[in-house]
Structure formats: C-alpha cells, structure tokens
Symmetry: C2
Subunit: 327 residues, 2 copies
Amino acid sequence: MYAIDELQNRVNKEIERRSGDINTLQPAELYSPVSYSLEVGGKRLRPLMLLMSYNLFSEEIAPAMPAAIATEVFHNFTLLHDDIMDKAEVRRNKPTVHVKFSENNAILSGDAMAFLSYQYLLECRSERLFDVIDLFTKTALQVCEGQQYDMDFEARMDVSEPEYLEMIKLKTAVLLGCSLKAGALLANAPDEIADQLYETGINLGLAFQVQDDWLDTFGTQQAFGKMIGGDILAGKKTWLLVKALEKAEGSVKEDLVKWLNAGNYYAEEKIKSVIRIYNQLEIRELALDKTGSLFSNATAILQSIKVDNSRKQQLFDLVNSMQKRSH
Amino acid sequence: MYAIDELQNRVNKEIERRSGDINTLQPAELYSPVSYSLEVGGKRLRPLMLLMSYNLFSEEIAPAMPAAIATEVFHNFTLLHDDIMDKAEVRRNKPTVHVKFSENNAILSGDAMAFLSYQYLLECRSERLFDVIDLFTKTALQVCEGQQYDMDFEARMDVSEPEYLEMIKLKTAVLLGCSLKAGALLANAPDEIADQLYETGINLGLAFQVQDDWLDTFGTQQAFGKMIGGDILAGKKTWLLVKALEKAEGSVKEDLVKWLNAGNYYAEEKIKSVIRIYNQLEIRELALDKTGSLFSNATAILQSIKVDNSRKQQLFDLVNSMQKRSH
C-alpha cells in the first residue's frame, strides 16, 4: 500500500517527466501551453484517486499510471476551454492559458490534451481497457453537458438545488467517479465494487464542488489560489446563491436580486453586500452542513465496500484531507 | 459491392438518423449545434472512404458504419474549432457555428463532437478496434499539429513547399489515410494492405487540399460553397502563395509582398492583383500539375494493392470524381 504522500510524489514525478517530453514536441506553439498547464500544479486529485483505487487490488501501481495521468490531462483540457468560456484570467495564482498564450492556443492545445489523454489511456495493457475507454468517453461527454448547464444557469434566477446538484455532478463529480472506477476496472476488480467506487467518487465530487463554492466566497485567496468573491462578481450560480435565492423572501430577496443585476458598483461593495445577505440567511452554515453530509455519504459507501478495511485507509485519509480543505 | 451513390445514400441516411437522435439530447444548447453542423451537409468523403475500404474485404458494410460516421463527426469537430480560430463566417454557404450560435457554443459543442466520435467508434465490435482507436487518436493529434502549423505560417513569408505539404498532410491528409486504413483494419485485412490504403489516403488528401487552394482562388462560389478569394484576403499561406513567393523575383516579388502586407485596399482589387501575379508566374497551371501528380500517386498505390481489381473500382471512381472537382 502506498501512502498519499508517496502516491502524490510519484504522480508529480510522472507528470513532470511527461510534461518535459511534451515540451520537446513540435509545433512548440501547440505543445508549450500543454506543458505550462500541466506544470502550473494542482492537487492531482484525479490521478491520486485512480491509483488509490487500483492499489486496493494490486500492490504494484505502475500499470495504472498512464491512465492516472490521462485523467489529469483530461481535467486540464477542460480547464483550458472552461477558462475561455468563463473569461477566467487566473487559476492557481497563475495566468490562464488563453491569457498567457492566446485564445486560439487555449482552444487548440486544449483539443490536443483531450486526444493526449486517450493516447495515455491506450498505454495501459489491461483486459478491461475497452471498458475504461468506454467509461472515459461517456464521462467526457457528461463533463461537456455539465459545463453547458453551468453556462445556461448564468441567465436564470430560478435554478433549483436539485438542478444545481445535477449540473455539478456532470461537470465535476463524474470525473472523480470515473477515476475511482477506472482504477478498479484496470485492476480487474468485481463490477459491483467498481460501481460502489464510482458512487463514492460522485459524492466526493459533489462535496468538493459545494466546498469550492464555499471557499470562493468564504475562503482566503492564498489558500484557494483564486480571487475571493469571483463567483459573486461573475453572478455565478453557486450552491450558495441557488440556496440564497431559494430561501430569501421579501426585501431580502429584492436586495439580493438588485445586487445580482447591478451594473454599476464597486467590486468590493457587491461582494460585501452579497455576503451580508448570505449571512442573514445562514448560507455559510447550510453549505458546511451540505458538504459534511456529502462527505459522509462518500465515507459510508466506502465503508460498505467489501475490501479489507486496512486497504481502504488511504482513501479514508484522502476523504478526510479533502474535507479539511474548508477550514 | 456498393456503388458510390448507394454508399453516399446510406451515409446520409445514417447521419440524418443520428443527428435526429442527437437533437433530442439535453442540454439542447450543447447538442443543437452538433446537429446543425452535421446537417449542413458536405461531401461525406471520410465516411465514404472508410466504407469503400471496408467493402474491399466484406460484402456487408453495416458493421463499419459507426466508425464511418465517427470520421465525419470528428471532421466536423475540427471545422467548428478551426472556424473560430480562422474567423471564418461561412462554410458550405451557411453561417459557421460560432456565428450562428456563439463562440462558446462552437468550443463546447466541438468538444462534445470529439468525444461523440469516440463513442461511435466504440460501437464497432471488431478484433482490431483497439488498433483503430489507436490510429484515430494519433491522427487526431496530428490534425491539431497541422492546424497549429497552418496558423504559424500566417506570420511567415518564407514557408517552403515541403513545409507546406507537411502541414496539409497533418491537417487534412492523415484523416483520409486514417479513414481508408480504419476500414481495412475493421475488416481484418492484412497490415500491408492497410498501410497501402493509408498511403493512398495521404496522397489523395494532399491532392484534395492543393485542389482546394486552387478552387478558393480560381473556382466559383456556387461550386465551392465558400467566398472566392477568401484565402487571398486572409493572406493565407496556400500552395499557390507559397509557390508564388518561391518563384517571384524582383519587382514581381515586391509587388506580391506589397499586396500581402497592404492594410488599406478594396477586397476586389487585392484579389484581382494577386491573381494577376499568380497568372504571370503560371501558378494556376503549376497547381493543376501538382494536384494531377498527387492524384496519380494515389491511383498508382491503389493499383499496386493486392486485391481483385474489380473490387477496387469504386475507389478508382472516387479518385476520378475527386479529381474532376477542379474543372
């Protein structure tokens, strides 16, 4: 069994190695943004999850490494394109690819990353590789659907909590589910367990996103790596805002909608005012409750999986470390 | 054996059926542009080529149909993204996706099409499916490389003919090669023949693109479906321009470069002036010679393939009909 730190190390080294190789490919204008994007860093959550899942059933993790990196490359592909669509200029405290290079670069290098992720997947020699590619492809389509819903929600004031959860399931959670399930499939684990791991990932992903919404408003820029209040300024339909629009009544609701529609304002004033309304409605606490319950779901499914408890320790540790991110 | 018209019919029906299905999927904002793009039409060259290649070895073509459609969906994905990057507003006499919908739609629906093409490929149950997916993925990366070189060439005045041919090989020809080879692989044909079909496709693709360059300048809008002279106005490095820059000397070269760098001009005047220079340099005839020799290469490789000549008739017919496009 590998400890999280060890896995993290191996993933980072492998990404560094591959990113170095990519950086020597021609044309440089296509491949430099790929290396840049991979080297900006991040939690490497998806490859970690895939390897941990594989490690439940196999001592040696090397055979699953290419698929692990594929999930990270795919994830970064989505960031390149989402950041164009969302006009996001900073990610992980660094300029986004369309800002540092160009929008065309972000489109085309993003495309290349999507195909690179398949190329990496294809390096894995497993009996179930076909199923993994099938799962990966379905997941990729769902991620596109999630991003589209996210954009559609921008123009709507009546997004319900279930609609919001379905959106983040597609946009974020399915890829975590896919990572855990792919690890199990590559290791030839029983289908039932692979499916339970998928559900674990779904709940973790939902928890992670609601937590992310929380951090964007109530976190600190240093810990979060993005500007605080960005979601509020962008009028983004986060769990916080969806819940606030659902709970607010009378003058509070009027006030909230006024701020959402406000054209002329000082950024800080808008952020402070919306946070004040969130506080009145106890959104901060409700969001913490929600993430807590989603993390608990993930833990409960993980507990029910028929694999020796000692082997599952790393995954429990991962859930705990993710949950602590909000503090 | 299926005649070209019959194959074309079956491809069109299958695209219509699938496009109808796609159009019912949610979110509509993601999937409508996909249907729109597929229904705008086109020659369906790639699926035709895949099916013809498969048909060399198998009477029944239905098992290869999903892969055939995959090549068309992939091709349309590249059009969606290329048209954003190239700021192209019209294709096949219709507004491009980023114009009719939005740039974000063209990015995200394009992404979805890339993954849809894998989903269709995965429907094929063939022993060699793994090899097909591998080939398809390599090809997809090469197509991205080709598009990048194409954009890089915009800023350069010293692009050589071999560089240009390498660029169009990546951007256009490899997908035709892939289509022919994939048909052979799916039909379990010998590797040697699959590779010869690939080389046939490469030569056809090169011929097709040089011909396309020719048509953009010397064709008619009705036949071509795009504005005539668009390449000249955009300063695009076509085979014609690369060759003209190579051949031009003295005052003719000065004149050509002056027109390429001109900021203020009437569109028609620029087009006429550049064509006048092309005519002085006999570029029109040279381009016809070049396409002729590339089509001949394709025919020669096809002739050398050890398959009964009568079975190859449809492919010869296709080459002939492609070659006639320039007249």
